[in-house]
């Protein structure tokens, strides 16, 4: 019996020839990412251990992105703790460089690696064929001091993509459609693997957007095999040939296989307060908005900003609507600047912010008040996620968000 991509990566990390879904393996981690959401807690626990030491400091990457720049003495203190610890121990450390997953994709993730991130959206790394999975700070600490952890080998849900997305339909619409279909725990404990000829039509930006959101279906990780598009991305980011390329065997066993025709996907919105609460944009057309957000690890890349800029060029943000544009990294920010995109957004009346998690996680900036409505390219729309407990978040593509910012109400972009 063949092995799936997920099984092969875990077998390699566990140093065993073969494994299968349901086994529990002790694995050596290749990289360990942590951000300012919980790193201060990890440090507190580390300091409680007897003669603690870091198993392999070269594997650690710490990124300040959730509250950057600090917005209160409390977050400043948390950052100081993280910064000092990183410097004392020689940990790779970024501050102001971008949202953690985007920075990881640009600078660190290699195919075939097994990566723990103390952040649920770590599953994004599957876009480059790596097994990324989110853990809490205690699991992170254990991996940091021992270099290892245990993992239940997941079953795989396989999604074969066919054809291509129509103009005006985006990767965000595709993954929201899939989550709507399988439900918010439809992939609980499982890996979601994407393959098929349709995958070749999707850029790395699209692929990150898809893999990133799989945790909203409960997935342990998301995976795609490395192809020429991924190789090009790795080469362009100075990591040509690094890592190991795996693919699911022809005779590997999938818990479920789905055939998805990309041409059937339509612009979609996830309504409050669940990511799987999806409907076609037309169904919520006319819903008044107070704020729009274009950014996050899901949709803050240059490709997303180009989509938004094309739509808003020469137009204005609606009266009484705040439009936050937040490039996902410093590289994305500078490229958007070079291409004149930031100018287009500012001319239209948008606020262009520094790279950070912004209102996607309801802190730092752009928080919404009682009764307000946000349309967002962020990752979640849970009750209270973006601010007041009695507020409303709709999730949609960069195109829908930008078109809605101009209209002052939810509307699909006219492409």
């Amino acid at each position: 019996m063949g092995m799936t991509l997920a099984e092969k990566i875990i077998a390699r990390a566990a140093g065993v020839e073969a494994t299968k879904a349901g086994n529990i393996e002790t694995v050596t981690l290749d990289k360990l990412m942590s951000n300012d959401g919980t790193t201060h807690l990890t440090i507190d626990m580390y300091n409680k251990l007897k003669n603690p030491h870091i198993a392999d400091v070269s594997k650690l990457v710490w990124i300040v992105d959730h509250n950057i720049p600090a917005d209160s003495p409390k977050t400043a203190a948390s950052h100081m703790k993280m910064r000092d610890f990183a410097r004392e121990n020689g940990i790779t450390y970024y501050e102001g460089e971008g949202v953690c997953h985007q920075v990881m994709m640009e600078k660190h993730v290699n195919p075939g690696e097994l990566i723990f991130g103390a952040d649920s959206h770590t599953c994004a790394y599957g876009a480059l064929g790596a097994f990324g999975t989110g853990v809490g700070c205690t699991d992170y600490l254990y991996a940091m001091v021992t270099g290892t952890s245990w993992l239940l080998v997941p079953e795989t849900l396989r999604f074969n993509l066919h054809g291509r997305l129509n103009k005006g339909v985006y990767a965000r619409d595709l993954i929201l459609t899939i989550i709507g279909r399988i439900g918010a725990n439809g992939a609980n404990y499982k890996a979601m693997e994407f393959a098929g000829d349709g995958l070749k039509t999707l850029s790395i930006a699209d692929r990150i957007s898809i893999c990133n959101l799989c945790v909203e279906a409960g997935a342990k990780t998301a995976l795609m095999e490395v192809d020429e598009i991924a190789e090009e991305y790795l080469e362009a980011h100075g990591r040509k040939g690094q890592g190991t390329r795996f693919r699911s065997d022809e005779d590997s066993v999938f818990a479920e296989t789905y055939e998805i025709d990309l041409s059937e996907i339509r612009p979609i919105v996830a309504k409050p307060h669940f990511v799987d609460n999806v409907v076609p944009v037309e169904e919520v057309k006319g819903t008044k908005i107070d704020e729009a957000f274009l950014g996050s690890c899901n949709n803050g890349r240059i490709e997303d900003l180009r989509v938004g800029a094309e739509i808003i060029k020469g137009k204005k943000v609606a009266d009484k609507v705040r439009f936050l544009v937040v490039p996902a990294s410093r590289d994305v920010y500078r490229q958007a600047m070079d291409e004149g995109l930031l100018d287009i957004f500012m001319e239209a009346g948008a606020m262009v912010m520094n790279p950070n998690c912004s209102v996607c996680w309801g802190s730092c900036q752009g928080v919404i008040g009682e009764g307000e409505t946000l349309i967002s390219t962020g990752t979640r729309n849970f009750k209270g996620r973006a601010g007041h407990k009695d507020s409303f978040v709709y999730l949609a593509s960069a195109a829908t968000v930008t078109a809605s910012a101009i209209a002052g109400e939810i509307i699909a972009a006219q492409m």
Partner: protein, 164 residues
């Protein structure tokens, strides 16, 4: 850990996410003690004040979905919740709860039968008894029980270090 205990049930629905368990705005508070009053506040602001040590939570499917924030299971534990019984758990929350010494039990039926405020008898790894009915529950593997019994993964590590 396998001794039977009695607990008063607080009943919640499906998909109780980590932002409900502890909203982002309270994550920066200095200690988990400071966070306690805000647990579950977007859904039921009064709940944290009503929960007494030893009480339990009974919930539907996908309890703990969302963020990897460990403050979520920590605050539930800090409120004195003796165990959570849900139809299913999101995986990151499941690991985080065990690592913080919070007992999670999976059962498909109790949630459908229970009335909030009622008392439930729990024998970890064995059974739940409620209203004259018995509910079978699975045993947790030894390594996880070791972590739970120590009160969490860090405490288990400290125990191995001879610190506790």
């Amino acid at each position: 850990m396998s001794e039977t205990f009695e607990a008063k049930a607080w009943v919640l629905g499906d998909d109780i996410d980590t932002d409900i368990i502890l909203p982002t705005e309270y994550l920066a508070l200095k200690s988990v003690e400071d966070m306690k009053p805000y647990a579950f506040s977007p859904l039921r602001p009064e709940l944290a004040g009503l929960i007494k040590p030893g009480d339990m939570i009974v919930a539907g499917k996908n309890f703990g979905c969302g963020s990897s924030r460990e403050q979520a299971p920590e605050v539930v534990k800090a409120l004195g919740i003796s165990c959570v019984v849900a139809k299913s758990y999101a995986r990151i929350f499941f690991r985080n709860a065990i690592n913080n010494g919070l007992l999670l039990i999976e059962n498909p039926d109790l949630h459908d039968d229970i009335t909030e405020g009622d008392t439930v008898m729990v024998t970890p790894g064995e059974k739940i008894e409620y209203n004259g009915k018995q509910y079978e529950i699975a045993e947790l593997p030894d390594n996880l029980m070791e972590i739970l019994n120590a009160g969490g993964l860090v405490k288990a590590m400290r125990k191995k270090n001879g610190l506790e």
